[in-house]
């Protein structure tokens, strides 16, 4: 193994392509970093204090963009799943998987930040209100998406089964939201709290929220590219291993 490593590495077209890919990724990373710094300033210095919630309301600028972008991520997974089942190309599956994985990461963060925001404001860690509940169900559905890939007998079937979840899951989410919304209107009075309407935000807060959204979208794009590249490498490795085995 040592001998193989020390051989001179001739630059191939592939290496140049990878370098180009890296350049865009690095650009995204830098952009996200800059945006993040700006964002932190906007969140903590520029945005005014909220009269009812105090400083803790600034969680809004993390919690809400994370939620919106996880919907974006699962929307991408939906498209990737449909295309994969239709065309069969592994690239679509790679897109679906990468987006789903990051989507689960973001959704987990939505739940955690939601819990930490709720406790000081509502006094309870959790309420079965429509948005939080739907987020929890969303989390469960896409965790199942990832699970089915590991539990399937082979990667190809895993990809196909996961695509099913990717499709059914997204279609189900609005239905879940409506049913929980109706259920809550039957059982609970209208809950006002941290997740109250963005529509009534003062303009300064709203612009900070929009900027946060941009920042997190850049971050999402960066993570997605990195995960996609990793998936491509995983697939290349698998192909190579299959070739090696077939030659033995």
């Amino acid at each position: 193994m040592e001998r193989a490593e020390s051989k001179p590495h001739v630059e191939t077209a592939e290496d140049r392509a990878r370098a180009g890919y890296n350049r865009l990724s690095n650009a995204l990373l830098v952009a996200s970093g800059v945006a993040m710094l700006l964002n932190l300033y906007l969140i903590f210095i520029y945005a005014p204090l909220d009269a009812t919630q105090g400083q803790v309301y600034r969680a809004l600028f993390v919690h809400v963009p994370l939620a919106w972008i996880s919907f974006l991520a699962f929307g991408i997974t939906f498209v990737g799943s449909v295309m994969y089942l239709w065309k069969g190309s592994r690239r679509w599956d790679a897109l679906a998987l990468s987006s789903a994985e990051i989507g689960v990461l973001f959704t987990t963060l939505v739940l955690v930040t939601g819990v930490f925001w709720a406790k000081p404001i509502w006094g309870t860690w959790w309420q079965w209100e429509p948005r939080l509940t739907t987020t929890l169900i969303l989390w469960l559905i896409y965790v199942a998406y990832l699970m089915v890939r590991s539990y399937a007998p082979n990667p190809r079937q895993g990809a196909r089964y996961a695509a099913v979840i990717g499709i059914i899951g997204l279609i189900d989410v609005p239905i879940v939201y409506f049913s929980v919304e109706w259920w809550r209107s039957v059982h609970f009075p209208h809950v006002v709290g941290p997740l109250a309407d963005e529509g009534t935000l003062p303009a300064s807060m709203r612009s900070v929220l929009m900027f946060s959204l941009i920042t997190f979208t850049l971050l999402f794009a960066y993570l997605l590219r990195e995960r996609l590249a990793l998936k491509r490498t995983e697939d290349a490795l698998k192909d190579l291993r299959d070739t090696v085995e077939s030659k033995q």
Partner: protein
Amino acid sequence: MPDTPQNLPYLFAIYAVTWVAFFVYAFLVSRRQRELEREVRNLRQMLQEKSKGS
């Protein structure tokens, strides 16, 4: 005004968890990427040597 300092730990937790999660994920992905790329290179060279040898 309910700007109680007791709430700041929650705010800190929210931001801390978020950034830590992002960095950990990005780190894990890039580390795995490097490992796998190394394996891919090794396997490719192994295959090249095999086809030359035979």
